[in-house]
Symmetry: C2
Subunit: 198 residues, 2 copies
């Protein structure tokens, strides 16, 4: 057998899938194979179909989100914990991985469980930091701000993309502390989670 090559390809395929589908969630599967330097069959050997690959990618992102939240929660200072959480999530591009891919597949029950847990962890970190935030901000605002951050991209240059995102997370974190109450009704959870509709 070709066990060495197989292991390398499994990694390459996941990495390629992340790059390709983050750039365009509707990209064809052949683009993933090409980017991975692999034939299409190498892909179908590992995943029954496109949807399963997308699901795996998204679920990985969700787990990464949870991991970031748990790690940040260990930080004793409330604001530092919140800041570490936001920066970690943006750094790992978790938001694109989860939110932009949701809707391209039918989620598993386990994913829903994890999604609930993720949101609970995020809310907990938010609550700890709430005292240092401007009035009227709600957790859904943070989701929205993360989504805005994910809109920052320099195509074909992932390194520069995260560099710029770091710039704007700083901007957003500053904005969460300064200023008075924001206008208009804050976003409802449903207005922010619409991609997870079954």
């Amino acid at each position: 057998m070709r066990t060495r090559e197989a292991a390398r390809n499994s990694e390459a395929i996941l990495a390629a899938a992340r790059e390709v589908f983050l750039a365009d969630a509707r990209a064809p599967i052949s683009a993933v194979a090409e980017r991975a330097g692999v034939g299409i069959s190498a892909l179908y050997r590992r995943y029954p179909g496109k949807e399963d690959l997308l699901r795996t990618l998204c679920h990985d992102g969700l787990r990464r989100f949870i991991a970031e939240a748990e790690q940040a929660a260990a930080e004793p200072d409330d604001w530092a914990a919140f800041e570490a959480f936001l920066r970690g999530v943006v750094e790992a591009d978790v938001h694109s991985l989860t939110v932009h891919l949701a809707g391209t597949f039918t989620p598993t029950a386990e994913m829903n469980t994890d999604a609930v847990r993720a949101s609970e962890l995020g809310d907990a970190l938010f609550d700890r930091a709430r005292g240092r935030m401007r009035a009227g901000v709600v957790p859904a605002d943070v989701t929205m701000l993360l989504e805005m951050c994910a809109a920052v991209r320099v195509p074909g240059d992932p390194a520069r993309t995260t560099e710029l995102r770091r710039r704007y997370v700083t901007f957003l974190l500053d904005g969460l502390r300064a200023g008075g109450e924001l206008p208009g009704p804050p976003p409802a959870e449903a207005e922010v989670n619409w991609r997870w509709r079954a």
Copy 2:
């Protein structure tokens, strides 16, 4: 002839195209016809092809951008002018109209001229307000922030979308004044204008 119906349809088609293509720049032309309550031929009677419709839409957005900038420039107070400009551009969803559609068609020479003029007007407004901004912010940052704002959307509810965007423009405007220098090299013009590549 059916001149009355024709006039109504011309309007309906443009409005439908805006709605449909803002929701998804890759939407099929049949979706536009459907949304407008019109047959496909009504569309092809007015535009030689899909690309021309997209181009018209985008150019309209560009002109709207210029109009907003010119109108805002009349405001005597420097910061008020800048704020009116940003709010106007976001309100009209000009950014989606221009940036999200760029690349789906080959631009005309006139569009390039207008794009240059638009950027000059924006820079002028920025320069007037620069004194009241945090250190190190550049015009390309504003482009990026507008792009982030355009990422805010509540699908199927345009009214709520602009309401939320108003919330976050306020947030961004506050952020532009508060805080110190932002980390990392600021975005280069090329990193922000990549969609206009010929």
